[in-house]
Symmetry: C2
Subunit: 277 residues, 2 copies
Amino acid sequence: MPAADAQSDHDAPAAVLEAPAPTAPTRTPQQRPSPAEEARTIVSATTTGTLATLSADGGPWASMVGFATLPDGRPVLMVSTLAEHGRNLERDQRASLSVVAPGREHARDPLDHGRLTLAGVAERATGSDADRAHEAYVAAFPPAGLFSTFGDFSTWVLRVERVRWVGGYGRMDSVTADGYARAEPDPVLPRARGAVRHLNEDHADALLAMTQVLGGHPDATSARCERADRYGLDLSAETPRGRASVRIGFEAALDGAEGLRAATVALARLAREGAAG
Amino acid sequence: MPAADAQSDHDAPAAVLEAPAPTAPTRTPQQRPSPAEEARTIVSATTTGTLATLSADGGPWASMVGFATLPDGRPVLMVSTLAEHGRNLERDQRASLSVVAPGREHARDPLDHGRLTLAGVAERATGSDADRAHEAYVAAFPPAGLFSTFGDFSTWVLRVERVRWVGGYGRMDSVTADGYARAEPDPVLPRARGAVRHLNEDHADALLAMTQVLGGHPDATSARCERADRYGLDLSAETPRGRASVRIGFEAALDGAEGLRAATVALARLAREGAAG
């Protein structure tokens, strides 16, 4: 797994953070989205973030902005010099954009939730970038078709130099600018919320069987699905040894959310057969 | 109204931004929360925001943080030096916190939504502040009771020097540090979402009567409630002259959301009597 285990670096007794390890072999592929894919997925799934710029005195200034995303993951901003961040960018183009994955308002713990930071330099869109950037922003914010005619608005594209992704407690990593540009957003994750709810509401037995038979925790007493991505399901399971994080991978990566149902049914069957065998 | 009308500053023909003005006198108090009250209300209503700090090279760094709020509105942060923002604060204490009002994910236009920026200096909590800050943060994030025992975590309190509030398109203002510290969060606004929905679902006729009889728009054809605060209701109304913003004020400011029903019923009666008179 490419995500660094930052938990082990905490200046604390490791035991307090340790989740129970599997007591049996896991029987599905354990691939999951790479940090670069996680980062691109978060950026692609929303159109608002918080921009950090430098004020006249060199101090930091955080402010909410709308943004669109170019195909290589660069964010597009349209800002007014009536706003402090707009004046800041005119003076110093260094900028950082923080983006939080959708759904934080409904998260059980808002800190155990995906987000990322991009840092780099804001550049005025020029050449073919200019049209693409403008089109992308207006598609995300139709009223911007009007704003953009005002003389105080400018379109900027953030040239990404540094990427830091945090998936939640203990799941985080840095991503190279090149890795970020080349990664593909996960086609399943942002569209799977309904499917995840359906699994938890109607198929708790299947999730428990997957956990016991395929996920390496034969003593699990209940399991719920936390999320689905193109490579598999993240489950959390109650065991007599504590709450475990369980990865159940699909046989093959999915190309879209429409493959989720068949892939999940196949896993449920595999778990039933394994339990019977 | 204390909020500056920033729209008129746009480098654009004013007409494109103008909403229809009342064609009859408004018949209720027109007070609304001050920018300082709006700012305090947003900060009090949530526990996540985005922190801007300065990286080692002096560039800005934006990252999601949890925060709690002291009674004077100062945000409390608990950050780890394993995170870049934690290392940044150790080096340079200048910081800015951007906070977005809850509900943005469901807003019709996420840019027409309340948010604010605080900027100042992060100070290590000392003396009586230290206990209050720690207690406030752990109350907001119970797992922090555990984190705070790790050697890599520190508690910081943001000394607020500058406050910039944005209520949505064309509603924005700066607030003095003193005005921010002394203002009271609105006791109604964060708890009124259900009441607003109820008004729109079941009392559209009363909202239209308020708009026509009390709100200065006798030609309105429909009205919906956008929000409620301790001083009154913000409505948007369709008129043959375009969509109007209508303020309907309560007779007296409310002390809590429990007074909302009686105050709204009184306004509906006033509108009916005015229509009949």
